[in-house]
């Protein structure tokens, strides 16, 4: 039978109980293994004989004060930010910011778009021309505007801390303030664009 391995010797001299009965029997009967195990035990005993040296009891107070003083010269330990590196949180943040930026881009593009050209050529000959203006165009009541509700719904749940963190300086009332400056056509167009975008994303 083969001799004990290094790990088996350690298990044997420590009586860990992990060796099989066959291996224990070998360790107890094999002359070579018995001698090696005995030598290992002797060395462990020799090491253990070097008893723990305890410095003076006064040392501990002095030591604790030394460490305390050294620690006070250190900057405070930084809190753990590893949670921020968790994939779900990272991707969620990126998606929210992307959505927000997209909405802002669409909004701004709509605000500065040229007004729709209405051709008057076909009506030039008639003096009593009446342009077909939709009824909603005359309404400046934002709250009553159903199309604008889409914009309000898209922005109502925004976390403005996230918006500021993204470097966009906007305030909760800004959307409503700008909305008051838009005419009905502009509001319709912005609402249409946002609605189309939300539908495309399955929001």
């Amino acid at each position: 039978m083969r001799h004990l391995s290094a790990t088996e010797f350690v298990d044997f001299i420590e009586s860990s109980g992990t060796l099989t009965p066959e291996r224990v029997r070998h360790a107890q009967t094999c002359t070579e293994c018995v001698a090696r195990a005995e030598a290992l035990r002797d060395m462990r005993t020799a090491a253990l004989d070097d008893e723990e040296m305890q410095p003076s009891p006064l040392f501990w107070d002095h030591f604790a004060a030394r460490v305390s003083a050294a620690v006070r010269n250190e900057p405070a330990p930084a809190p753990d930010m590893s949670w921020f590196r968790q994939p779900a949180i990272t991707w969620g943040s990126v998606a929210s910011i992307a959505m927000l930026l997209l909405a802002m881009a669409v909004w701004r593009a709509t605000l500065h778009a040229p007004a729709p050209v209405v051709s008057l050529a076909t009506h030039a000959s008639t003096s009593d021309v009446v342009l077909p203006v939709p009824e909603a165009a005359f309404s400046d009541d934002v709250d009553a505007d159903e199309a604008w509700a889409v914009v309000r719904a898209a922005t109502i749940d925004l976390n403005w801390d996230d918006v500021h963190a993204a470097g966009i300086s906007a305030h909760p009332d800004d959307v409503e303030n700008v909305a008051l400056e838009l005419n009905a056509d502009e509001r319709h167009e912005l609402a249409r664009l946002l609605d189309a975008d939300l539908k495309r994303k399955g929001a």
Binding site: V10, L48, E52, V71, R72, P77
Partner: protein, 205 residues
């Protein structure tokens, strides 16, 4: 006065040799509370951590350094490094295991490249051997010095395995966590440490 939330009660003397287990579950919980308090800016909580672990850390450093002066400097360095890296303690292992890991790394890095100055402590700090006969005491002291010198010459991993197993009575799996190897490797290192210790003592004599 509002009680501090991190305040814990040290329920037992952790240096009691009759109770050698590294850390009980409640000790680990207390340590985690203290670490969280430190991270929230309560530096006093770290004083409690030092108080709880200073003896173990010092003894570890003493076994590597071999003299009181270097051991106390090393122990201070261990605590400073622990303080700086508190935010990296995840609580996956016991705080004492994490601290031991820092201690072993500090000791091996600092002392690996230079010979140690093995000295004894002042007479007043020595264990009380008055009950022994003078010649037996002398023999014992000489033998202990030889063993310490031989341990100092062991390869790093063998030395770490022997120190943590023999002098700190840590289980092999905890030593594996501390030195970052497998349990099998720890046992093999312990075996070779004892075998090499015999050779070194033989060559010294």
């Amino acid at each position: 006065m509002r009680p501090r939330r991190w305040q814990v009660t040290v329920t037992r003397d952790r240096t009691d040799p009759a109770r050698p287990e590294a850390a009980s579950a409640s000790d680990s919980d207390d340590d985690r509370v203290l670490v969280q308090a430190c991270l929230r800016g309560h530096r006093e909580a770290f004083d409690v951590i030092v108080e709880r672990h200073q003896r173990h850390v010092y003894q570890l450093c003493y076994r590597f350094a071999g003299n009181h002066e270097d051991a106390s400097d090393l122990a201070q360095d261990v605590f400073l490094r622990a303080y700086r890296g508190l935010h990296t303690f995840k609580g996956n292992s016991a705080f004492s295991t994490w601290l031991y890991r820092i201690g072993v790394n500090v000791c091996l890095n600092r002392l690996g490249s230079r010979a140690q100055k093995w000295t004894t402590l002042d007479a007043a700090d020595r264990p009380d051997f008055r009950a022994e006969r003078a010649d037996a005491r002398l023999l014992r002291g000489e033998r202990a010095a030889e063993v310490r010198a031989a341990i100092a010459r062991l390869p790093k991993k063998q030395r770490a395995a022997l120190v943590l197993r023999v002098y700190h009575d840590l289980p092999h799996d905890q030593i594996a966590e501390i030195v970052g190897t497998s349990v099998g490797a720890v046992k093999a290192n312990f075996f070779h440490a004892l075998a090499n210790l015999k050779k070194l003592l033989k060559s010294q004599s």
